[in-house]
């Protein structure tokens, strides 16, 4: 009613009354249709309201339809079985009762169509109520099937209707994030989830084939939202929450089996990931991959193609792909040739600045915790990390210094990096930063002069941490798990808290001007204008 609100005051009142009257009208008509079959033709008015301009009217009509058809479904006033067309109905020999049912069924179908259209309505309220109504229909149809129970295949679940709903949700034009989050509540039901997954894979296959390799960001985002909001059960016994209860053969219903769920889930993801994705989508998927996708797949190794592809992309995506790869390597015996070489080449200055720094170093720590790694490899990692540390922010340095020290502790042969008493004469650094192969970078012949440099770092904690290499390292490893998430702001706050009791040292050079002091650098480059 926004438009009417903004209009003239005098019309406001009449508007109000008209709105009220239309609401009353809608409810009246629904009542009438429900009461007696004589008023069956009022259904048309109701359906007309569904197409009204005013969203309040539409919402009202949606609710009325919801009520009406639920009652009708419950009463069995809708035709069951293969629905004859309306012409057939008129021409065919049906009883008045049957005709009424066929007529109502047709109205029901057109109501569903209208509601599906309303899902892409601009008002969220309408969208939501349309969705809820449709899901209500799904549940009612499940209870009072409109088709005679045919085979063993699908039992009585209105999957056509659900598929239509899913198709609407996975819009190619509109971001359906809100509606999908509303839809999530229905995904809690096992059967809905099962059929939704099937519908999604169907839909994705169809749409992406049509797109022919092009990227559809909105659509793919919708798909991702829907698929990522699916939470899979972890045990068979958890499968108990159904929207539609099956009268017979509950046990054999596919929707009631975890294995089937996993299969469909896997198929859905594989179909989705088969196609080219926008790069931020990669990141999103990779972030949730290891804990909400891989465990629920029946054959996680099928993900290997996707993960290796992501790992090859480079940058942050590679970092994120590490996590999934780790799961595959660790739990599913994946053999990844040149894994460490690739990991080595991932180390570049930006790793200290990206958002996923903590995750990456957590994994790197895991990968490098193996004691069976060759010494040259560990040395190369240590050297490369310390070289990169020359560009790192203090929070990252506080993590990376113990990290390097831990590497040396785990592999005592690497001690030469910080303690080489044999060679006395000074030399240039033999380490080759540009070489991507850790075997050929001569890290073992080098020393960690970078850490020595960092002993002059401006932050006292960093400088202290770097001092550790001056003495033989202690046996115990430093725990870096707490340091992984350290942010610069925390560091800043820590600095503020120190030395409560002691007097604050002051500058003794008298300050007379803003730009003076410390060599007057600021004054040399800037003026007070």
């Amino acid at each position: 009613m926004a438009s009417s609100r903004s209009s003239n005051v005098s019309t406001d009142k009449s508007d109000e009354t008209s709105r009220k009257s239309s609401k009353k009208d809608i409810n009246n008509k629904a009542e009438l249709v429900m009461k007696s079959r004589k008023n069956a033709n009022d259904v048309f008015d109701l359906l007309e309201y569904l197409q009204a301009d005013k969203e309040k009217d539409v919402a009202c009509a949606v609710n009325a339809c919801n009520k009406l058809f639920c009652v009708l479904l419950e009463r069995g006033d809708l035709f069951v079985g293969q629905l004859p067309t309306e012409e057939e109905m008129l021409s065919g020999s049906y009883s008045a009762e049957e005709k009424y049912r066929i007529f109502m069924h047709h109205r029901y179908n057109s109501c569903k169509d209208l509601l599906l259209e309303l899902i892409s309505h601009e008002s969220f309220q309408v969208k939501e109520s349309a969705l809820v109504t449709l899901m209500k229909f799904v549940s009612m149809e499940g209870q009072f099937p409109l088709l005679p129970v045919d085979g063993e295949e699908h039992y009585n679940f209105p999957r056509e209707l659900l598929r239509a709903v899913v198709d609407q949700l996975l819009s190619e034009k509109e971001d359906m994030a809100l509606l999908i989050s509303r839809f999530q509540e229905f995904l809690e039901m096992e059967d809905v989830r099962y059929y939704v997954m099937g519908s999604v894979s169907n839909n994705v296959g169809r749409v992406m084939d049509k797109a022919k390799g092009a990227v559809l960001p909105v659509y793919q985002n919708n798909v991702f939202l829907l698929t990522s909001s699916i939470t899979m059960p972890s045990q068979e016994s958890e499968l108990s929450n159904f929207l539609v209860k099956q009268a017979a053969k509950q046990e054999e219903w596919k929707a009631g089996k975890l294995k089937e769920h996993k299969r469909v889930f896997e198929r859905m993801w594989l179909i989705f990931l088969k196609h080219k994705l926008p790069s931020n989508m990669y990141k999103k998927i990779l972030v949730i991959l290891h804990d909400s996708i891989l465990p629920h797949m029946s054959k996680p190794t099928l993900m290997i193609d996707f993960l290796t592809a992501a790992y090859e992309v480079g940058g942050a995506i590679s970092l994120l792909a590490l996590n999934g790869l780790f799961v595959l390597i660790h739990q599913h015996n994946l053999d990844y040739p040149d894994f460490y070489k690739k990991l080595y080449s991932l180390l570049e200055p930006s790793v200290f600045h990206v958002k996923y720094r903590a995750r990456f170093f957590h994994l790197a720590n895991l990968f490098l915790s193996s004691s069976h790694l060759p010494v040259y490899l560990v040395a190369a990692f240590a050297k490369r990390l310390s070289r990169l540390a020359l560009t790192a922010p203090p929070a990252a340095l506080l993590m990376i210094l113990p990290f390097v020290c831990n590497l040396i502790r785990r592999h005592p042969a690497c001690r030469v990096l910080i303690h080489r008493p044999s060679a006395e004469e000074p030399c240039n650094d033999p380490y080759l930063m540009e070489v991507d192969d850790p075997a050929q970078c001569h890290a073992m012949e080098s020393s960690l002069w970078e850490l020595q440099t960092l002993q002059k770092h401006y932050h006292p904690d960093v400088a202290k941490a770097a001092m550790a290499i001056n003495k033989p390292l202690s046996e115990e490893e430093d725990d870096i798990s707490e340091l992984l998430e350290l942010s610069t702001y925390e560091l800043f706050e820590r600095g503020l808290k120190q030395k409560e009791n002691q007097a604050v040292p002051l500058e003794f050079e008298v300050a007379t001007q803003l730009l003076q002091g410390s060599g007057g650098l600021l004054g040399a480059h800037f003026s007070l204008e």
Binding site: A423, S447, Q452, Y489, A503, A511, L521
Partner: protein, 901 residues
């Protein structure tokens, strides 16, 4: 109990009795030896009897009665109460006391009857004891009188005086007289007073005693005469002295008069001597006053030897050296925690003589002297140059007025200074001079005021606008703002200074807090000045000394205020980073704050509560704030400057600085293909604003000349033409290259120097097209490249520090010097008092315990005697009975025998 050996000896000791119950030794007659083990009762009676018969003197002289307490040290002049004890006496006293009290109670136990003392007034506490006695006596007399003694006159009655019979006193009359001599001596003064003041009491008494002893009358009389003689003598002397004084006075008066007569003659010839003797008569009081004053002043201010300039310079140098050493120590950061040195704060012209009291005042004053003039000149120049149009005529008038008042202030300051240095000069002269000065000022101001009507009006305005001389300390930031707003820079400084002076901590108790708050407000004000458009940087510049002064006064408050400012901004930045993953560059106010931090606090400390977080803040800004506009490049370069300034002294490594400079240079690279280096966030190798500093066309290059960048550019740039933008770019680039140069020279000693600057080297050699750039920039680039690529230093491989050998443990005892003997050390007054009370309590407790034990012992003994006596009685009776029975039996038997016979 005694040992066996003792018992053997006992046999040999003839004349002694060992009373085992009490352990006393009594000497008895020559041939009596008792060893009384079983019968203490009898013995006690005996002992008591013996004691009672003897006088105290006898007992005291008896070596067996006396117990001498051995002393550990003989202390001269100390009288001890307890060197000799009489255990027997005290014991018998104690027993007696028990008999009087405890035994009575015991006997009274379980008895319902009570003894009532019916003597007159026994339970009347109000009655004085003398009255009681009198009354009782009267009653007694009455009782005796009305019965049988009617005819018995003065038979038994004895006259007494103070309870002693008069007859006895008469006997001892001589003895009393022998004491009267000393009494006389005591009365001497009494008599004197009596004669002087006419009092009668003492005299009367004396007479009484005089009458008492008739024979002793002769002596006192002669004495009285003697005294009278003495009095007369002293009176005479007094009179003579008075006469002499009067004569002298007369003489001096006469002399004065004579002098007056010839004074007129002398005054023309000898003005100096006149000055000397002139004060003799007419200005006597004044002279006295002055003499006294001078005396006092000399005492109060022993002038120190004036230091020669060399000495002062040397001291200053020493002080600076000491401070620098301290700074270095803090920079190393190794001993920072252990040393808990008391912070001493130094003002600019502290003489290092430990004189603190009103240092602050002096400092600000002298500070002004040192600085004010320069500032004024600068201000004038600026006034001439500036044509803001903001301040109209009145504003300028105000300025002038402000300056005038400044000048006044200065003069006053000079005055006070002179007071300080020549405080022994005549105050008169001083005040005269002041008057003259005032006159001079009036004269100086008069012509100006009598110029034109317009100017006069303007001056009236100015006078209205003149600043008050006292200011209340602002309670809130808005207070300060309302005080300062609308005033010129000079006046604002003056206001702040006056606030500071009016609320000096030495003036009132709460002032310290007020000034501490003032620092926070000033800081806030600085921030606001910086956020104005255009920023009032010159005002900030003038406020810096004030901030510095307040910071020196209250380091903790300053530290807290600065920390709050930094924390707020850092928090804001952090929130923005969390939400968006990036943040905007800090505003000009934060840049100013960061600079102020560097001015107020030592940035070279290893760890500093303000400087370290500030540097972290800078680093965070340099890594998280994306660079998309020229303004942001400017902000970034300011931050780089600050970072470099922070570490100039300590030569610490700031990776973010190098990253950022590389990034800025990267912005100037026109073709970004096949980079041989990595840029670090916030910069990207390729992207939207990646050629921010690349020249749009080469035309503007020649017309460019290097100038300092304006700080206000951080807030926004108005560069209209492409050429202007290009010029600005070139300036930024030049600054950036210069900063690179600075950092290259700063980090030269670092072991990884070549690796740190490797990317910059690659960028400068391969990617930056230098041919078209102005010569200045080309020169800079060449210098930088030379410095970077100058023969990479060879590095020795790392080795661990050599372990220090662990020293052997020493077993020599730790010697602690004891300074106060005999006292319990290390305890406060309260603790000592507590100890004392504890000790006393213990003693009392023990004493009470002992008493109780003795009581029970006594009672037990009493009970035993009771039982024994009862038994003895019974035995006696039984014996008697047996005896009587035996006699009966005997009689009966004899009768029987008789009968038989």
């Amino acid at each position: 109990m005694l040992s066996l050996g003792h018992q053997c000896n006992l046999a040999q000791l003839d004349r002694q009795i060992y009373d085992l119950g009490s352990g006393k030794i009594h000497s008895l007659g020559p041939s009596i030896i008792f060893i009384t083990m079983g019968k203490p009762q009898k013995n006690k009676n005996l002992a008591d009897k013996v004691r009672r018969t003897k006088t105290t003197k006898e007992i005291k002289n008896n070596p067996f009665e006396v117990k001498i307490n051995r002393k550990k040290f003989e202390v001269l002049g100390r009288k001890t109460k307890h060197d000799v004890g009489l255990p027997g006496v005290s014991r018998s006293k104690a027993i007696q006391k028990r008999k009087d009290t405890l035994l009575k109670e015991y006997k009274q136990k379980d008895k319902s009857n009570k003894f009532i003392d019916r003597r007159f007034g026994e339970y009347d506490t109000k009655m004085a004891p003398e009255d009681k006695i009198l009354k009782r006596f009267a009653l007694e007399r009455q009782r005796g009188h009305d019965k049988k003694d009617i005819y018995n006159l003065n038979e038994e009655e004895e006259l007494t005086h103070y309870g002693q019979s008069l007859a006895e006193i008469e006997k001892l009359n001589d003895a009393v007289d022998s004491d009267s001599e000393s009494e006389e001596k005591g009365l001497l003064s009494a008599e004197l007073t009596a004669s002087h003041f006419g009092g009668g009491g003492g005299l009367l008494r004396k007479k009484g005693t005089g009458e008492n002893g008739d024979e002793g009358g002769q002596k006192p009389k002669s004495r009285q005469e003697l005294i009278e003689e003495l009095i007369i003598k002293s009176k005479q002397e007094k009179r003579e002295r008075q006469n002499q004084k009067e004569e002298a006075q007369e003489l001096t008066e006469k002399l004065d008069q004579d002098w007056k007569a010839i004074q007129g003659l002398l005054s023309k010839k000898l003005p100096k001597t006149e000055a000397k003797e002139d004060e003799q008569k007419p200005k006597l009081e004044e002279y006295d006053m002055m003499v006294r004053e001078l005396g006092f002043e000399m005492k109060a201010q022993p002038s120190e030897k004036l230091k020669s300039p060399e000495e002062v310079a040397k001291e200053e140098q020493e002080r600076l050296q000491k401070l620098e050493a301290d700074r270095l120590r803090r920079m190393q950061g190794d001993v920072e925690e252990s040393e808990n040195k008391k912070h001493v704060h130094w003002s600019a012209d502290d003489l290092n003589d430990g004189f603190i009291l009103d240092k602050e005042d002096k400092r600000t004053l002298s500070y002004q002297d040192g600085k004010w003039n320069i500032e004024e000149e600068m201000e004038r120049e600026e006034d001439e140059e500036e044509d803001d149009g903001e301040e109209g005529e009145s504003g300028q008038e105000e300025d002038e007025e402000g300056e005038e008042s400044d000048a006044e202030d200065e003069e006053e300051d000079e005055d006070s200074e002179e007071d300080d240095s020549h405080s022994d000069l005549e105050s008169e002269q001083d005040s005269d001079r002041e008057k003259e000065e005032e006159k001079g000022e009036e004269v100086a101001s008069k012509p100006s005021s009598s110029l034109t009507e317009e100017e006069r009006l303007a001056q009236q305005e100015a006078a209205k606008a003149e600043l008050p001389y006292t200011f209340a300390a602002p309670e809130s930031y808005s207070d300060l703002k309302s005080l300062l707003q609308g005033h010129s820079t000079e006046k604002q400084c003056l206001i702040v200074e006056r606030i500071q002076k009016c609320n000096h901590p030495s003036l009132a108790a709460g002032n310290k807090l007020k000034l501490q708050k003032l620092f926070g407000f000033l800081l806030e004000y600085t921030g606001e000045l910086a956020t104005m458009k255009p920023p009032r940087l010159d005002t900030i510049n003038k406020l810096i000394p004030k901030l510095y002064g307040l910071c020196q006064l209250f380091p903790d408050a300053a530290c807290n205020a600065m920390q709050t400012v930094l924390n707020d901004s850092a928090h804001e930045m952090e929130e923005s980073i969390e939400v968006k993953g990036r943040a905007a560059f800090p505003g000009l106010d934060m840049l100013i704050y960061l600079k102020v931090t560097a001015l107020l606090f030592p940035t070279s400390d290893f760890r500093h509560p303000v400087a370290t977080p500030a540097l972290v803040y800078i680093s965070q800004a340099l890594t998280k704030c994306p660079v998309t506009t020229l303004e942001e490049v400017t902000s970034g370069l300011v931050l780089c400057c600050l970072a470099l300034e922070y570490v100039t002294l300590s030569q610490r490594f700031v990776p973010e600085l190098i990253n950022f400079l590389l990034g800025v240079l990267h912005l100037a690279v026109p073709v970004k293909k096949t980079l041989g280096y990595f840029v670090v966030p916030p910069f990207r190798p390729v992207g939207k604003s990646c050629d921010l500093l690349a020249m749009s066309n080469a035309e503007g290059m020649d017309s460019w000349s290097r100038r300092a960048l304006p700080l206000s550019a951080v807030q926004g740039l108005t560069l209209a033409s492409d050429t202007d933008r290009d010029h600005y770019r070139l300036s930024l680039l030049a600054s950036c290259l210069d900063l690179v140069k600075q950092s290259v020279s700063l980090y030269k000693p670092l072991p990884s120097f070549s690796h740190i600057f490797q990317p910059i080297r690659v960028l400068l050699t391969k990617h930056l097209p230098m041919e078209s750039y102005p010569v200045h920039i080309q020169d800079l680039r060449r210098e930088v490249l030379e410095m970077i690529s100058g023969a990479p230093a060879l590095k020795t491989p790392l080795v661990f520090d050599k372990k220090k050998p662990i020293p052997l443990k020493f077993f020599t005892p730790k010697i602690v010097e004891v300074l106060d003997y005999g006292k319990k050390r290390g305890s406060s007054k309260q603790e000592r008092e507590r100890e004392r009370l504890k000790h006393k309590y213990k003693k009392e407790f023990k004493g009470a315990l002992r008493e109780i034990r003795k009581d029970t012992k006594f009672l037990a003994r009493e009970k035993l005697t009771e039982i024994m006596s009862r038994d003895a009685e019974r035995k006696r009776k039984v014996k008697e009975l047996f005896g009587s029975l035996a006699t009966q039996e005997g009689e009966w038997k004899s009768l029987k025998r008789k009968k038989r016979k």
